[in-house]
Symmetry: C2
Subunit: 346 residues, 2 copies
DNA sequence: CTGTTAGCGCGTTCAC
DNA sequence: GTGAACGCGCTAACAG
């Protein structure tokens, strides 16, 4: 049996309450007493039983996820993962809720954050929009003692406690590297489709992609970036026009959403191209299987949600997080290592 | 607040003990009473608080991992992950131990399993060797009520409760697909290095690799498989000889261990080759960064260990496991999406 | 067959 | 400053 608070109390010659005060770093303990207790803790190798502690506290953690609304499949997948995690909320003593706001709408995001703070949530996870209103809302949360993590798209430089998502520069590099190798010495230019350069993750991916492509042995021309606003219809039009206008097109990298439009355009005329996109969804999975898409770069939404919950709980309790363990990997999927379809769609 | 056993007792008009008997499916309850309690459980939407239950039981789960000994870096990494998971054993009420046995030694593995059963462990995770002794030992564990999971290399057809590892046929296909695409229309033959065809995972990887290569648009000759017995020295010799004897060698796939020998041989003369190997270790990481290796296929040892623990605990409690959640993914790493080096070495 | 009671390890009033 | 006692949700003795 491992040591309990009783053992420590006995070892240190004090009562349970005093041990508890020392353990939770609360006032009302003399320095000498505290030292005695700490010595006992160290010598016995005590580790607190978190489950029992939570049981005693009977504390619940209301956590809110603020996500962009709309039909972006990745975001809807993220939402589904939050709901799924909510099923386990019982055992984890956490109560999860999702709030959706218009995409790229900084004011709406800030409002949602303020509402959450007012409600007294114990943590906020949000897909950050790069705007001053959001910086300010994060600061207000900080003042209110509510931890904030950014999800998928970061806002470094703000007061957010943690970022949960992939290294987007590395993601772009990975795409460029794969594109270069898959194309080999085949001639032709490459097109890049983005959502909007106004969000950080897209900008970072582009940066990494261009760097990797230019480092390839075979120099290759990259067409000016197409901005599809993550909108399927606009993306379709941009790609269709591009396919018509660029006879020697060799590859396409879509670093944003809007895959549906891209795939629709490729269905018309899209063989022989090297196509690399982000996010494994029902659509991209199908296109990977049928050979229309060559590779999908993915961030696991389920991992991200669970990581956000762990981090927010830890921060709410004032604990430190193991950054290495919370790092989100960039998955490379090709037709052959595609995992079986998940419950929502993956 | 969610309902507790007290609420159920009140709702059903019985005592706590009766509720507990029904919940844990223990005898000594009349059919009518049982039905009443079950109705109350359903109507209140009760879900048991596992943490509290474990606390009350103060049960511990002694789990044993049986791994091949020797300097196979992947296996040592697995062992390190078990030790790391052991640090959390406190909170999970699990006591982890590792036993190493000579690699490919079925009798030693069977003995270790019998010893574990005799010790009264509540679960066994083992890297399976494909032999009758092991089948028999698994059956004995089953009779003793001790759940068994196979790790990394499966033994389907045996009585093992679960397999934790990657789909090795898909892994081979993935390697073949990447090899084919990376080589493109470059001419040359491809060599395959294996440990031993006597273990299932190696056989399955080869099968997948050959299938994928033959499905490529450019037909390419594959040299006869080299069996390095997962031994660095033998692997070195085989590859060095191959490099000398095959002037038009274009690529090498190592589907087993022994990467150290392979890398040593490549250091002598190994530029311009497409090299794909398994398992991300300190060695393969370095070779990936320096460009000697083009891709590493990996199974996350940490995930595997944690999955094994979850599955064994569930089986020990007679619970069902969510197979989809426990599936181990095949990671593809290239230079650009390499995660930061982990605590042990990755 | 069913109910009572005493903890599991910890946090938290309250008194002293 | 410090300590005793109760309860979190559940299980397991022991009565009845």
């Amino acid at each position: 049996m491992r040591p309990t608070v009783h053992d420590i109390a006995a070892e240190a010659g004090v009562s349970l309450a005093t041990v508890d005060r020392v353990l939770n770093d609360r006032p009302g303990v003399r320095g000498v007493t505290k030292a005695k207790v700490e010595a006992a803790i160290a010598s016995l190798g005590y580790v607190r039983d978190v489950a029992a502690a939570n049981l005693a506290k009977s504390r619940v953690y209301p956590l809110v996820f603020i996500l962009p609304e709309g039909d972006n499949p990745f975001m809807r997948g993220l939402e589904a993962e939050v709901r799924r995690a909510g099923l386990h909320s019982a055992i984890e003593r956490t109560r999860l809720s999702v709030v959706t706001v218009p995409a790229f709408d900084a004011a709406a995001l800030a409002d949602a954050m303020d509402a959450a703070i007012a409600e007294g949530v114990s943590g906020i996870a949000a897909v950050a929009v790069d705007a001053l209103e959001v910086f300010a809302a994060i600061d207000r949360a900080r003042e209110a003692g509510v931890p904030v993590v950014t999800l998928v798209s970061d806002l470094s430089g703000s007061g957010r406690d943690h970022f949960i998502g992939v290294d987007n520069i590395a993601a772009g590099r990975t795409a460029g590297s794969l594109m270069g190798r898959f194309l080999g010495n085949r001639p032709g230019r490459v097109a890049v489709l983005a959502g909007s350069m106004r969000v950080r993750d897209h900008g970072e991916r582009l940066e990494g992609f261009l760097a990797a492509m230019s480092a390839m042995p075979n120099a290759r021309a990259i067409l000016p970036v197409l901005e599809g606003q993550d909108d399927p219809d606009l993306s379709f039009k941009l790609i269709a026009d591009c396919l018509a206008a660029v006879p020697d097109l060799a590859g396409i990298y879509n670093l944003g959403a809007g895959n549906r439009g891209l795939l629709k355009a490729l269905a018309v005329r899209g063989t022989g191209l090297c196509v690399i996109v982000h996010e494994l969804t029902g659509e991209t999975r199908g296109a990977l299987e049928s050979g229309v898409i060559d590779a999908v770069l993915n961030q696991d939404a389920g991992h991200e949600v669970r990581s956000a919950i762990r981090v927010l709980r830890a921060k709410a309790d004032g604990l430190s997080v193991n950054a290495a363990q919370e790092r989100i990997r960039l998955d490379i999927f090709i037709k052959d290592n595609l995992p079986p379809a998940g419950p929502d769609e993956e």
